[in-house]
């Protein structure tokens, strides 16, 4: 049995409801995410996973319900949030290095610190040789690594990722999965990670939130009680994976 979790609450969602016109997408969702928790969100295609994350950052305003980060309404100017969008979102007019530095410049970090973090991220993401290239000149996977790098560079308290590794080949995905875990452990960040890939969810998460079909509700929260580094061939790992897969299929 997992021990009682008494970390303070980082994200509090109460009765979150979102409609686009007549289309009900999120239906009275309530749950908490604790400080330093790594949560994966899975659910059927088009059920409202991105919408949920976009409400959290106030890209969309919730139709009803309350949403707090550290007890106050989410505000990117106050909280140190990083977001990896599902769609490509590198800024085409900035070089790879400037894209990674983008958030740091807004936060007015000292120049040397910015320089040093950008270099570290370029190495981490294997983008050093492209530092002066423009995103439009790179492959989809490389562009996605810019965006992931841009969010890691912020050393965020709250890291939100919307299917960040969907475009990656398996090798790159495994590598970046370990990197996000490393970042999470190093910084003690809270991570909300949306994925289609159940294996990825079980590999990464402390807790998996399963959403129902649209309109999305929380169907179940599953605590993944496996030691790290996790072994995807381990029988308990596979049992978790199959269990979640079934729960998504049978709504």
């Amino acid at each position: 049995m997992p021990t009682e979790d008494n970390r303070p609450i980082k994200v509090e969602v109460k009765n979150l409801t979102k409609r686009f016109g007549d289309l009900l997408v999120l239906d009275h969702m309530s749950f908490n995410i604790r400080k330093g928790e790594f949560v994966c969100v899975v659910g059927p295609t088009g059920c409202g996973k991105s919408t949920f994350l976009n409400c959290l950052t106030r890209i969309h305003m919730p139709s009803e319900g309350d949403l707090y980060i550290d007890g106050v309404p989410a505000d990117p100017k106050k909280h140190n949030i990083s977001f990896v969008f599902q769609e490509p979102s590198a800024l085409p007019w900035l070089t790879v290095a400037d894209n990674i530095a983008y958030g740091l410049k807004i936060k007015r970090l000292p120049k040397e610190e910015t320089e040093q973090r950008v270099n570290q991220i370029l190495d981490l993401m294997g983008l050093q040789e492209f530092r002066n290239a423009y995103p439009g000149e790179l492959s989809v996977s490389a562009e996605q690594r810019i965006i992931i790098g841009r969010s890691f560079a912020m050393k965020p308290d709250l890291l939100l990722m919307d299917e960040p590794y969907g475009q990656m080949d398996v090798k790159m995905r495994f590598y970046l999965e370990d990197e996000v875990i490393r970042l999470w452990k190093e910084l003690g960040s809270t991570v909300i990670f949306i994925t289609h890939n159940i294996e990825e969810a079980v590999y990464l998460a402390e807790k998996v939130l399963i959403l129902t079909n649209k309109p999305a509700k929380i169907k179940e929260e599953i605590v993944i009680d496996l030691p790290r580094p996790r072994d995807i061939t381990d029988s308990r790992f596979i049992a978790y994976r199959n269990d979640i897969t079934d729960k998504i299929k049978w709504w």
Binding site: T57, R58, I59, P76, K77, I81, S82, F83, F85, E87, S89, L91, P92, W93, L94, Y102, G103, I106, K107, Y134, P135, G136, M154
Partner: protein, 261 residues
Amino acid sequence: MERMNGEPKALRNVLYWGLPVLAIGLIAIGWIAFSGSNPDLMPSPAAVWSRFIKTFTKPIAKTTLIGHAWASLKRVLLALMAAWAFGISFGILIGWNKKARAFFGSIFEVIRPIPPIAWIPIIIMWFGIGEFPKILLVFIGTFVPLVINTSTGIEMVDRINIQVGQIFGGNSSQILKDIVIPTALPSIFAGIRTSVSSGWTTVLAAEMLGANAGLGSLVTRGWQGSDLSLVMVAVITIAVIGALLSVILQKLEKVVCPWNH
């Protein structure tokens, strides 16, 4: 990635260098043939060349060809600088601010279809035929394309790019400066390109109606004095300067918007 269309690269290079040369060659041959058979309608290249030399040895209105070209250029550049400053700012304003768009947009829609040349009579009546009215006329002709291109570029900004700015905590002036304006730069630059060519055309029209210096005044002078060679000299100079301006702008665009290729 380059699309392969079967032609070897070397052949393609020859083709794309050769075709423009061929086109210019054909025009030259046509000119020689036409002026040979209709000497009163079209002076020969040799006659134009000697007229060209004469603009330096025997200045017109105490000004050489260079002086006339500079007079026209100076007017265009002064007007352009004013138009860039005001047109781009105004375009950003109505592209970004919905209230400003609602207010100015309608006025602008009315003024927009008026060709710059149509302003000539009004402007001459109000301001005479001095330096200022010519510059004003060019300003009017270049202001419009700048505003249109700038505001369209601003409106086209990708929603997701603005969201990136918001997520990383940018305030609205940072988002305007770091996200919206860079997105609009290629389109602003297209406006600058249009403004230069339309400014160049407008200044010549203005000068043709009354000026004692400028390439447009040379055209009128040659026309009224039945000096067709002078007209040709002026026209070719106009074309060459127009082409040079456009080459300079192309180079400049690569410097200002390096990602856009």
